[in-house]
C-alpha cells in the first residue's frame, strides 16, 4: 500500500451532504459539510434544512470543495467510501450512485459503510486510539450501546426500544417552547436549573437487559407540564430541563457503565450528536472515575460527517472487504451483518 493512501468518503444518509478526504484512515485533509458552507454567497438560494433529494444538487459541489480544501485532485483518490444505510433510501441513493460513478470512472475500489459504524470510527480520527472499547452511539436517530471487540467486530449490547435519546431532547424542548434542535437548547437551559427539582422516572429493564426507553420520560414531562397548568401553578422551565436531562443522562450512564463492566474494557467512547451534551460528558467521566477512560470526538465529528465514513471505509478495505457495482442503499441496514 502507498505511503499516503487517500480515501474519499461520502455521507448522505439524512440531512447533511458531506464529502471528506482522509489520509491513511486517520488524518483529515478535508471534511466538507453542505449545511456549513455558505453556498448562497456563491450559488444563490438558501440551504434547505431537509436535504434528502436535494443532496443531488449539492453533491458535486461539496465534492469539489472537499478536493479543493484537501488540495488534491480526483486522480489522487485510492478508495471511494460511501454510507449505504441506515437512513432515508432516497437520500442514501444519491451518495451511493455518485460513489459508484466516481469509483467506476476513476477505476478505484468502492466500499459501502454503515452509518452507525461511521459514528464509532469518528473516535479514531486524528489520534492513535484502537479497540477493544465500549461505544455509546447517541444521536437524534440512534441510541446504541456497542462493544467494539476489534475493527469490524461488534456486539450490540443495548438499544432504545422507542425514542432515541436525541429525539427525547427535541420533543421535550418542543414542549417547553425552547425551539429546535433541542439538544443544545436543553443543555444550556438546564445549566440554570435545579436538576433535583422534579423526579422524572427512568425506565428500568431486568438486570441483564441494557435496553433504553425514553418515551416514558417524555410522557412524564408532558404530564407534569399539564398538571402544573391545570392547577394554575408556575413552571420553572430551567428546572424541568435540568431534571429531564438528569433522568436521560442517568439512564445512559448507568447502562454504559454496566456494559463496560460486563466486557471488562478500559475505555468508553461516546459518539453521535448527543455526545456533545455537557452533562453526559461530566456525569460519565465522573462516574467512570479511575476505572474507565472516557473519550469523545470533537463536536464537528460527533454530528453527521463524511470523515468518519472515510475512516470506517478505510478499515473495512484493510480487512479485505470491497463493494462492487451492485452496492445498494438499505433504509434499515444492520451494523452486525456484512452486506
Amino acid at each position: 500500500m502507498k505511503d499516503k493512501f487517500i480515501t474519499l468518503g461520502i455521507e448522505t444518509s439524512c440531512d447533511e451532504t458531506s464529502v471528506s478526504v482522509v489520509e491513511n484512515g486517520r488524518k483529515i485533509l478535508s471534511n466538507a459539510i453542505f449545511s456549513q458552507i455558505k453556498w448562497h454567497e456563491k450559488y444563490g438560494g438558501v440551504v434547505p434544512e431537509i436535504a434528502s433529494r436535494q443532496h443531488l444538487e449539492a453533491i458535486s459541489h461539496v465534492t469539489q470543495k472537499s478536493l479543493e480544501d484537501a488540495e488534491i485532485d480526483f486522480d489522487s483518490i485510492d478508495l471511494v467510501a460511501v454510507t449505504h444505510g441506515p437512513g432515508l433510501v432516497g437520500a442514501l441513493l444519491v451518495g451511493v450512485s455518485y460513489a459508484k460513478g466516481l469509483a467506476y470512472a476513476l477505476k478505484k475500489p468502492l466500499i459501502g459503510v454503515n452509518h452507525i459504524e461511521g459514528h464509532i470510527f469518528a473516535n479514531f480520527l486524528e489520534n492513535d486510539f484502537a479497540p477493544p472499547f465500549l461505544s455509546l452511539v447517541v444521536s437524534g436517530g440512534h441510541t446504541h450501546l456497542i462493544y467494539v471487540k476489534d475493527y469490524g467486530d461488534y456486539e450490540l449490547m443495548g438499544r432504545t426500544v422507542d425514542d432515541a435519546a436525541g429525539e427525547a431532547f427535541d420533543k421535550v424542548a418542543r414542549a417547553l417552547g425552547l425551539g429546535y434542535p433541542g439538544g443544545p437548547l436543553i443543555d444550556q437551559t438546564a445549566r440554570l436549573g435545579n436538576e433535583l427539582a422534579i423526579s422524572f422516572p427512568v425506565a428500568h429493564f431486568k438486570d441483564e437487559d441494557l435496553s433504553f426507553s425514553f418515551s416514558g420520560i417524555k410522557s412524564a414531562v408532558l404530564n407534569y407540564l399539564n398538571h402544573q397548568k391545570q392547577k394554575g401553578l408556575s413552571i420553572v422551565v430551567e428546572d424541568v430541563a435540568a431534571s429531564f436531562q438528569k433522568a436521560v443522562v442517568d439512564a445512559l450512564v448507568e447502562n454504559t457503565l454496566k456494559a463496560a463492566e460486563i466486557k471488562n474494557v478500559k475505555t468508553i467512547a461516546l459518539a453521535g450528536g448527543v455526545a456533545a451534551n455537557s452533562r453526559l460528558r461530566e456525569e460519565l467521566t465522573s462516574k467512570a472515575g479511575t476505572d474507565f477512560l472516557v473519550r469523545f470526538p470533537p463536536m464537528i465529528l460527533c454530528t453527521d460527517n463524511a470523515a468518519m465514513i472515510s475512516c470506517a471505509g478505510y478499515y473495512r478495505f484493510l480487512q479485505g472487504f470491497e463493494s462492487d457495482m451492485t452496492l445498494n442503499a438499505y433504509a434499515n441496514l444492520n451494523i452486525f451483518s456484512n452486506n
Partner: protein
C-alpha cells in the same frame, strides 16, 4: 364514518394498533394526528406486531421514514420536521404509495398531498394515560376496517 375508541394505557393503545394491523394490506394509508406523547408511535408499534413484524419500532421523528420489511412492508413516517409540501416530495413520498402499508404521524401537516382514500386516526390526551382515538373513514374500504374493529 366516525368511531371513537378509548384506551386506558400505552399497552391498550398498542393492542388496538395490533388489531388494526391485522386488518391492513399493502397500499393502505393511515394518517395519524394528535399531540406529542399521545401514543402515535406506540400505536404504530402495535400495527407492526399485528402485521407480524418483530423489529423494534422506534420513532421516525428524526429519520423521517423508517421501513420494516417482512412478509409485508411497513413505512412509518413522521412529517413533523417538514417545512413545506415540496420537502415531502423530496424525501421520496410518492415511492411509498404502492407496495407499502404507510402509517404517517402528523399527517394533517401535509393533507394536500395525501391519497384521496385514507383512514384518519386522531389521538386525544384525556388523562395521564387515558387516550381517545377517533377513527374517521372517508371510503367504504376503510369503513369496513373500522366496523370489523368494533366487533
Amino acid at each position: 364514518m366516525e368511531k371513537i375508541f378509548e384506551t386506558q394505557n400505552v399497552e391498550q393503545t398498542e393492542k388496538l394498533g395490533a388489531a388494526v394491523g391485522k386488518l391492513l394490506s399493502e397500499g393502505d394509508f393511515l394518517a395519524l394526528t394528535g399531540d406529542l406523547g399521545a401514543g402515535k408511535t406506540a400505536f404504530t408499534r402495535g400495527i407492526a406486531r399485528g402485521l407480524g413484524i418483530d423489529d423494534a419500532i422506534t420513532s421516525p421523528t428524526f429519520t423521517l421514514i423508517n421501513e420494516y420489511h417482512d412478509s409485508v412492508t411497513l413505512a412509518h413516517m413522521d412529517v413533523y420536521r417538514l417545512k413545506n409540501l415540496e420537502e415531502l416530495q423530496n424525501i421520496g413520498f410518492d415511492d411509498y404509495l404502492k407496495g407499502y402499508i404507510v402509517v404517517m404521524e402528523w399527517a394533517d401537516k401535509v393533507k394536500e398531498m395525501l391519497p384521496v382514500e385514507v383512514l384518519w386516526i386522531d389521538f386525544r390526551v384525556v388523562g395521564d394515560s387515558l387516550r381517545q382515538l377517533k377513527f374517521t373513514s372517508n371510503s367504504p374500504y376503510y369503513d369496513k376496517i373500522v366496523q370489523e374493529l368494533s366487533v
